[in-house]
Symmetry: C2
Subunit: 350 residues, 2 copies
Amino acid sequence: MNKIKIATGAKPTVNDIARHAGVSLATVDRVLNARPGVRTVTIDRVNKAINELGYIRDTAAANLARRRVYRFVFLMPGTRSEFFDELQAQIDAQSFALVNERTHLRTQRVARFDSREISVALDSLQSDTTDGVAVIAPETPTVRDAVARTRERGIAVVALLTDLPSSPRDHFIGIDNTSAGATAAKLMGSLTHAESGRILVLTGSRLSRDHLERRHGFDKVMAEQFPHLSVLPSIESRDDNELAEKLLPEVFSMRSDIRGIYSSAAGNNGLIQFLGSSSAKLITIAHELTPLSRSALQRGIFAALISQDAGHIVRSAVRLMRSTVDAVPFNAMQERIRIEIFLKENLPPC
Amino acid sequence: MNKIKIATGAKPTVNDIARHAGVSLATVDRVLNARPGVRTVTIDRVNKAINELGYIRDTAAANLARRRVYRFVFLMPGTRSEFFDELQAQIDAQSFALVNERTHLRTQRVARFDSREISVALDSLQSDTTDGVAVIAPETPTVRDAVARTRERGIAVVALLTDLPSSPRDHFIGIDNTSAGATAAKLMGSLTHAESGRILVLTGSRLSRDHLERRHGFDKVMAEQFPHLSVLPSIESRDDNELAEKLLPEVFSMRSDIRGIYSSAAGNNGLIQFLGSSSAKLITIAHELTPLSRSALQRGIFAALISQDAGHIVRSAVRLMRSTVDAVPFNAMQERIRIEIFLKENLPPC
DNA sequence: TTGAAAGCGGTACCAG
DNA sequence: CTGGTACCGCTTTCAA
């Protein structure tokens, strides 16, 4: 069975391989890194030694000798939101923590959440200064082509938050938004003990794939499991103030049978303001754990929160870009971003 | 403000420090590692250079030169359960993944979940073969003393799953079980739409601190928020079969007003068996995402699951043991284990 | 097609 | 108390 691998106690090194195969260090290295200029017979000898000794390359030492550094950029929409701020904070934190892992992070913001601008930004990335990019972008042909060009230049591309399945991105890091919407619906239906009534849905940009998916998942579960509650058409506002001061008061003055609100967008400021001053007894479910939403949950203004961990997303993106450029495998389980549910009871401290 | 740190582009190395301070490499190393035999004035010169150049030590290179290896052991109760199996699987997976991070993991099982045996196992750990231990143990004076002795021998000790707050353990890796119980209660109360009725609680060992805490958190929230549902005294069984074949049928034959079951223990096998064959319409909430519980959730036998990520726990334990032995800081946010809530809708695929 | 030797950023032993 | 130097495991010229 295990006649392979002589357990000498110590892990074999390139020197052991060289000696065992009767070649020099340089040749072992050539084989290890698939460099040209080695006879097939020699390659075989080296590989035989590698297998027999059970050699595993020490990546830390290799990176040291190679003076390898990873230069990654996070391409983010200029749109401000508490969640993007949190993401930015996590990038900065990692950026600092990663200096002694030879990994450099930088953030680049494009003015708007716009295919054209994002594609220009992607095209401006040079492979001699950038090894990988994590991009938050809508799924459009323009973006798809820019992603393809970027990868062709030898830059790893990972999609953040919203997937680009039609693009040749290397990985997607984020949640399944259809499931997230479905989860919100299940919570909404369970927490609302009314016999009947309506549910209001607040959405971000109707153009954004993730919001559509959330809405879709939400509607499906509401219809299937909670038919006594009917879901109103989405309302979309350009900014938080407009929502609080105009749209919401308008809707509530017209209808008195609204039992719950599902806010699938990122900004909750206006909503929280409105709820704080309103006397309506509502079940409100929103997305993303932020200082504002945490406080709303704690005060009972929000009933539940669906979230994705910004720190995890950033760390995952870095690991995946690294494993892409190194062409090494990664731990799929560790990189899976969870759809987190927060109630007041399981809110992490601090 | 930032007159410090000359941005030469490249990160300064020990050589730069030595040159800048006008001393040798060896002296820089002595200062860096707080080794004796350096004049205060020289120490100051070196530290000045370190600050001026903004030196950050390359841990990978240091570990290479030092030929440092980390040898950690996971001390687990022999008690089998799906969750412990998952934990074991994650340890094995990490063990493999960590070979080229110079980290060796091994598992040691004690026959029973017993203070005495655990303390004997801890005492048998030698600091020349072990750098750290992650231990799952009940909080007793015996364990506390063994933990103290182990740390005195220079071995890092972290508590897994159940905290040992009165022990001098270096870290606790796990969830707040009181909050976990509270979360279960909130879900139970929300998902049970009955006007009145009783809730059955199944517990593991009544001796285990985490089960007591879960029960406590559960009772508190039930009493405060759902007074129309009354919680029955815990029932505890020695094994899963006994539960399914004797205890549960007995209870249900005596009471017809049971609306929900909260299983705070780890084993769900017997419970699932019983529920599968029973016709009672119940809301059941259990702990830990495992193949069995996942399937039960998917089939609607369980309404919700409270869980903690075994992979995360193992990775966290390793990182914390490492940062303890190296006496370097760690990222508290990353090490915080979340109280995860799973509904059918947000179950991760696969 | 192959090998010798000089590092990468640190550590640690030995001499002075 | 301080400096010189070999070396950790691997990569990379430069010659042969």
